[in-house]
Symmetry: C2
Subunit: 325 residues, 2 copies
């Protein structure tokens, strides 16, 4: 089954009912998704666990227009249909349309300074808006599958809080969707540290594929990632912050290690990434419980508790602190 | 068998005959040694391949003294017997002595600015000096085994040029010694780039043990290292510089990747290490054939050919260029 077949099997019809609206938050993986078992369907080699960041996300409205092409607006600016951002959305909308075209108005509240990709919240918000526009009344699991077809990590952004994206076993990926963990952690903080926000030379998708195909160390990753997820989930359930932090940090570093060991090498780190890592480790030596995670880019996301928020803000002047719950 | 038993089985006697003298060069592994299968005997989990750097090394003389302790001089300075450097040498000399003590005069020509450890050339030179002092007339293979007991990579410094250290299979390590590859490569150059020469917080030995014990990705390393060695040996035999360079660089990055993925993490890199890596990759994008390797530290060693020596010196102002042959 290709992506179109999957979509057709999930949605009840292709007749838009009205205008639609959706919103979703970005998420930070504590146990990372790295490597696809199916490139078209965005099926992962391993399950992943994330935390959503409220107040950072995407709001999207959709409406059917009388036109021969989509009209896509991002943060009040019309995006040319030739641009990759618009092309990718129009290709995704192809799964759902029946000769009709859409006006998509998207607002991202993710500040450029945060150094965060917004495709996860973007495709989650778009799928929620489509569900609203077509009045499909799909379950969250189904929305998660549809969002996944737009961007892998968007599967997780359908939900708030802690979320697990099950890798699934089936070829059609109908068992590869996200589910929330029913646990709030009021004291938890995520700190965003911008190192660089210019577009990366190697996309996450390309980086994953190169790693899977050209890194001998990657063979140990999928099993390790599953084990890390179990450890992190357990740490969340008992609010064991140090186990959460050290497992999440090691998981992120292990993902980057597989990239570094790829031929040719993939090093998303910049000099300041390394300086900041050493700074985090120095703070831990001073008994400040702070850990970091990193996605496929140079920026760090710090993990710490409310009790250390003051000192962390002192030590990292440009940090953006998020309270996930 | 412990190290003392091994030494006793190799050396014909413990009666020093005269003064002894030895010299040896440092070596840079192109295919790295990382992980021990026997800590006392310095037996590796994988074979390694190195190139010796002539003009950078150790000259050591040894003589029996009438004393109750060794007297150890490094670069014309007496080293206190309490210092780790002297302690380690005296413990090594214990294998060979019969109530007699030694005066050891060692000169290292490795400039501090090169950021290179000298234990490999140091223990190789010491073993050659002992062989001379005791008039054992041991084969180079036997000298390589004895040097290995002092410092793993010293096994390779018994020889010049390209050298393979066979990991061996035996528990006693009598099949774990180095041998030279009979091939000179006049055009090859090694460029030393100092990032930092202060003592590292985690020794190579400690780093290896932590990696072997606490890194899931390490399980793929020994097999990969053996495959890299074969590729690099083949590249040497046919003088295929690009295959040599890319395999050696990937091998070094993969070794560092295993450290980075260790819990707690081991990151020998500093910010300038990363800046220099990116600089090397940028030069390759400009069709300049330069690669790097790194040992367990922040410094880079560039690999390039004579034809690019001028441009490399222009690009890296503080580089020390070595002509291995």
């Amino acid at each position: 089954m290709n992506a179109q077949d999957i979509v057709t099997s999930i949605i009840p019809h292709k007749i838009p009912q009205q205008k639609g609206y959706g919103q979703a938050n970005i998420n930070i993986a504590l146990s990372k998704y790295w490597g696809k078992r199916d490139i078209e369907l965005n099926l992962p080699n391993n399950s992943s666990l994330s935390i959503s960041l409220p107040s950072l996300g995407t709001k999207t409205s959709i409406e059917v227009i009388n036109s021969t092409e989509d009209a896509i607006y991002l943060n009040n600016t019309k995006i040319a249909n030739e641009e990759l951002f618009a092309k990718r959305i129009s290709l995704f909308l192809n799964y759902f349309r029946n000769n009709n075209y859409f006006k998509i108005i998207t607002h991202n509240s993710v500040p450029t300074a945060a150094g965060l990709a917004s495709s996860a919240s973007g495709y989650a918000a778009l799928v929620i808006a489509l569900n609203n526009c077509f009045q499909w009344r799909l379950s969250n699991n189904k929305l998660s599958i549809l969002a996944r077809l737009g961007s892998g990590s968007a599967a997780r952004s359908i939900f708030d809080g802690f979320v697990i994206w099950h890798k699934g076993q089936q070829q059609d990926g109908l068992d590869s969707f996200a589910e929330p963990i029913n646990m709030a952690w009021q004291e938890l903080r995520v700190g965003l540290i911008k190192i660089d926000t210019t577009a990366k030379k190697i996309s996450s998708t390309q980086g994953m594929q190169n790693t899977v195909n050209n890194c001998e160390l990657y063979q140990a990753w999928p099993k390790k990632a599953e084990q890390d997820l179990i450890k992190i989930k357990q740490a969340i359930l008992v609010k064991d912050f140090n186990n959460l932090g050290k497992t999440a940090e090691n998981n992120a570093l292990s993902m980057h290690a597989t990239m570094i060991a790829t031929m040719p090498p993939i090093l998303y780190w910049q000099s300041e990434s390394v300086t900041t890592m050493h700074k985090v480790w120095q703070l831990r030596e001073q008994a400040i419980n702070v850990y970091f995670t990193m996605d496929a880019g140079p920026n760090l996301k710090l993990l710490f508790l409310e009790q250390d928020e003051y000192i962390i803000k002192q030590k990292f002047k440009n940090i953006i602190v998020i309270k996930p719950f």
